[in-house]
Amino acid sequence: MSNNGNTINITINGNTLSVPTGITLMEAIALAQEDVPVICYHEATTSEGLCRQCVVEVEGWRILAPACITPVSEGMVLETDSERVTRARRTILEMLAATTDLSHAPDLQAQMHTYNADPHRFPDAVARAPDLVDDNPFFVRDYAKCVMCWRCVQACGEDLQFTYALSTGGRGYHSKISTFFDSPMPETTCVFCGNCVAVCPTDALRSKTELLMEQGLDYDQIRYKKRKAQKDLDAGGRTQ
């Protein structure tokens, strides 16, 4: 939060308070001890205003303002929970639920409940269901669960790791997170730090151990499975 010592007054849900200049609406809302829901926002990654779930209504504005990237200005009057805002949030959740597997996103499930979102509102939507990518010993990529929040791309890039193995690709409905040329992770610059896994909100990226344990395997079985897979590989003529 940058602060040159100056403050301004804004009104949030009817309460006027004085906040430092230069902060975002989201920071101001937190100072007012109010809350907005988020999907793409993460404390450790750069906000891009992608998901629009944190939108609020600003008096006199034609559009809803994404709180994570909109700076405060003098005299702003905000509504964080108006009918227009909740309708927008509900629709975002319904569109996500129609195309994406949110079964491992407890926070989004809670939001669905809060905003009374109907997961079947768009029955003709085609769910995205690419195959699970299992190309390294450490984590799997299940893009059926991906909500395109970009956190992983930013974590891999200039927010945490400076490794630049992940990027966005494709357009519109076909846009997706991937590696350059869709290469398997071991053939990229990836160093398997898993900082991307840590910021993923939906388990689209997750630790392989966690996945296998969820399938009911214990550590010894996971090791056995690994050894067997390796044996099969070796038997298949692939040399180590």
């Binding site: 450490f138 200039e158 945490l160 790791q161 898993g194 966690e210 550590y219």
Partner: protein
């Protein structure tokens, strides 16, 4: 399928490198199934590397030691290395009693100095405090040392001469705001991965200028403004020439030199002849590049130096460290944020093990064992007379065992049979000992020589503190139960010490009745002024405290030397360049360097038992494409490396990372141990062996 829910989330400290990342261990059914890191907490602020995030499965490995073991043919001489089948399980009672009996017998017949002991840079401060208390207070010897001898002993020796203190002077948290910095002899992105992210951040986001001085084209060179690619072992020449430039072009900080530095006249006179052209001839680094780097470093408002094993693991390791200290002293780049002399510590608690008295010449807090006043303090606290003579270092203990003046070894959490140089020699020594006691979490190459093995709890199964590279004392906590009958090191040590005291002790016990590591810490802090403001409770509240922290209301010290140096004034030391002990010749035409890779850890005891081994399963050798072509070696081919000491088989990794004429091997692989090849040539001041320069031949199989 629904996601696994953690039954418990336990905050702890990563057990791998010296960065000391804070981690949250997610536990279900007594197993760690996930590791995350808190974004708001130093030193890593949410960042982890592959080892910290995915490499903790060793904790649950089926080969963990679960019962005390006694060698079946105990007493037979010479002792031969045996596998697990050479041991029988025993009760704690039997194993402890027998160990106490054997140690007491050696101490009574030959004196305490006939016992050599290795404490552990992987164990906690509390474990190490008790270990050296047992060795000093009960066995009455100062023969206690650990693997810091094999890593940063030269940094310690050099910095002690220059400024009187050896720890990393500045903190990790300062890194992302750097202006100019030097990385030398450190493959930071593989050995201290999380630190490397902050260094990269400084370059990418803060516009910092990086000078890399390293023979290998390591990843950090991609972020460097200047890369000085010196020939291995010629570091002193390069740093001396930088100093020459700084002095002749009058780029030094005159007021700093006047106020805080001594010996400037003699030192600057000694630089005559150390021109960049002279250094170019020795090191192969173009003179102009040396001048540019010197100007960049000297003209910066603040500039820091970071180094690793490439500087210290050398026959001129001490001189290397001194030559870096000379640069910082000349330019006044000390005692402010973003400056400093920063040896990056390799092991999770190598700083803490040294701090806790795991060295042959000092009690906890680097208080000299030969100083009568200090000794009196510890004699009063531990209720008995103490040995007034400094003990032996790791390799001196090996030498003393060979000369038969040391009869027994007690080794806790170290694997000297992987980490010592010239392993063939070390093995011979282990065979001749009367008694070897090992305490570890796994059966490793050293365990093969043990008479008795105590199974210990891992970092995830006990309380205690680790001190990371920037002197931050942080907590570990029990997250899962120890397997079988394994017990925390501190408990085992207390039991063993009490039994040995019963057999040989004086009228009063040195004191081994503790109910928790927090109590052990309090006793150590009471005797160690820089720790006196730190308690386990305080660390819990603040997540970590940087020592020195002399009082409870002291905030701790992220960067040192703001006002003065421990030695008063900083000392500029004239140096001479000397060539390395063994250089390539017709028979052994390649220069060999050793080091680490991202996916493995030191002797491999942990990472070879982790899924980390899946991605890097084989021992490798980096060889330049030109050399590979000349020898007809193709990528991925198994080849033989041979030195005057031994030979190993490794898989070729054809890459321009290592220069023509040099090969590089990681030392993690027991089946191709790098130290079969290395030579036992030591730095005369620090006694550290040279792991980075020896001569080998490369042969097709």
């Amino acid at each position: 399928m629904t996601a696994i829910k953690a039954q418990e989330v336990v905050r702890s400290t990563c057990p791998y490198c010296g960065v000391g990342c804070q981690v949250d261990l997610f536990i279900k059914d007594e197993k760690i199934f996930k590791v995350e890191a808190p974004f708001e907490v130093a030193p890593n602020f949410g960042r982890l590397c592959v080892k910290g995030r995915f490499g903790f499965d060793f904790v649950h490995h089926p080969s963990r030691l679960t019962r005390p073991l006694i060698r079946k043919n105990i007493g037979e001489s010479p002792r031969k290395a045996v596998g697990m089948e050479g041991f029988r399980p025993a009760s704690w009672e039997e194993a402890l009693e027998l160990a106490a009996e054997k140690l007491s017998a050696v101490a009574q017949q030959h004196g305490g100095d006939a016992i050599g002991t290795f404490c552990s840079a992987k164990a906690s401060n509390e474990d190490n405090y008790l270990f050296q208390k047992f060795v000093r207070g009960v066995l009455k010897t100062n023969n206690v040392d650990h693997c810091a001898r094999l890593c940063h002993a030269a940094s310690v020796a050099g910095l002690t001469i220059a400024i009187g203190s050896s720890a990393m002077s500045n903190s990790i948290a300062e890194m992302k705001n750097l202006e100019v910095f030097i990385v030398t002899g450190s493959n930071t992105s593989e050995t201290h991965p999380v630190i490397s992210t902050f260094l990269r951040e400084a370059v990418v986001k803060n516009g910092a200028k990086l000078i890399v001085i390293d023979p290998r084209g390591i990843e950090m060179t991609q972020y460097a403004t200047h890369w000085l690619q010196q020939k291995s072992g010629t570091d002193v020449a390069v740093f001396q020439a930088m100093a020459h430039t700084i002095v002749t072009e009058k780029l030094y900080n005159a007021s700093f030199v006047e106020q805080r530095v001594e010996n400037f006249e003699t030192y600057s006179a000694s630089l005559e002849g150390c021109t960049p052209e002279w250094a170019e001839k020795i090191s192969g680094v173009p003179a102009e590049k040396i001048r540019d780097a010197a100007r960049l470093y000297a003209n910066a408002g603040s500039a820091a130096i970071y180094w690793g094993m490439g500087i210290s693991q050398s026959v001129h390791g001490t001189d290397n460290a001194i030559s870096l200290a000379n640069l910082a002293l000349l330019c006044g780049h000390l005692g402010r944020p973003g400056t400093g002399l920063n040896p990056l510590r390799g092991q999770n608690n190598v700083q803490g093990c040294s701090d806790s008295g795991g060295l042959p010449n000092v009690f906890p807090g680097y208080q000299s064992v030969t100083d009568p006043g200090t000794r009196n303090k510890f004699e009063a606290a531990w209720h008995g007379e103490l040995n007034p003579d400094a003990g032996l270092t790791t390799m001196e203990m090996v030498d003393a065992a060979e000369a038969d003046s040391i009869k027994a070894f007690f080794i806790m959490g170290e694997n000297p049979m992987m980490s010592e140089p010239d392993l063939r020699h070390a093995r011979h020594v282990m065979e001749s000992l009367e008694f070897v006691l090992v305490q570890d979490i796994f059966f490793n190459e050293t365990g093969e020589y043990a008479d008795i093995i105590f199974p210990a709890a891992s970092f995830a199964e006990k309380d205690g503190t680790f001190t990371n590279s920037d002197r931050r004392v942080q907590l570990i906590r029990p997250a899962v139960p120890a397997p079988g009958e394994a017990r925390p090191d501190w408990e085992i040590l207390c039991d063993l010490a009490k039994r040995v005291e019963k057999k040989i002790g004086g009228p009063h016990s040195a004191g081994f009745e503790f109910t928790s590591p927090a109590e052990v810490w309090d006793e150590m802090a009471g005797l160690t002024p820089p720790f006196q403001g730190i308690t386990h409770d305080r660390i819990l509240l603040e997540h970590g405290v940087h020592w020195p922290c002399p009082t409870p209301d002291h905030p701790g010290t992220p960067y040192l030397f703001e006002e003065s140096f421990p030695s008063g004034k900083g000392h500029l030391t004239p140096l001479e360049y000397n060539p390395s002990a063994e250089l390539p010749d017709d028979q052994y035409p390649f220069m060999l360097s050793t080091g680490r890779v991202l996916y493995h850890w030191h002797g491999g005891t942990l990472t070879r038992r982790s899924k980390l081994d899946d991605i890097y399963p084989n021992p490798t050798v980096e060889i330049h494409p030109q050399d590979a072509e000349k020898l007809g070696v193709t990528a991925g081919e198994w080849i033989k490396l041979r030195s005057r000491r031994g030979e190993i088989r490794v898989k070729s990794l054809v890459t321009e990372r290592s220069p023509v004429g040099m090969v590089f091997i990681p030392f993690h692989f027991a089946e191709a141990a790098a130290n079969e090849l290395t030579l036992d040539a030591r730095d005369p001041k620090a006694k550290i062996p040279d792991y980075k320069v020896c001569a080998v031949s490369v042969e097709k199989i």
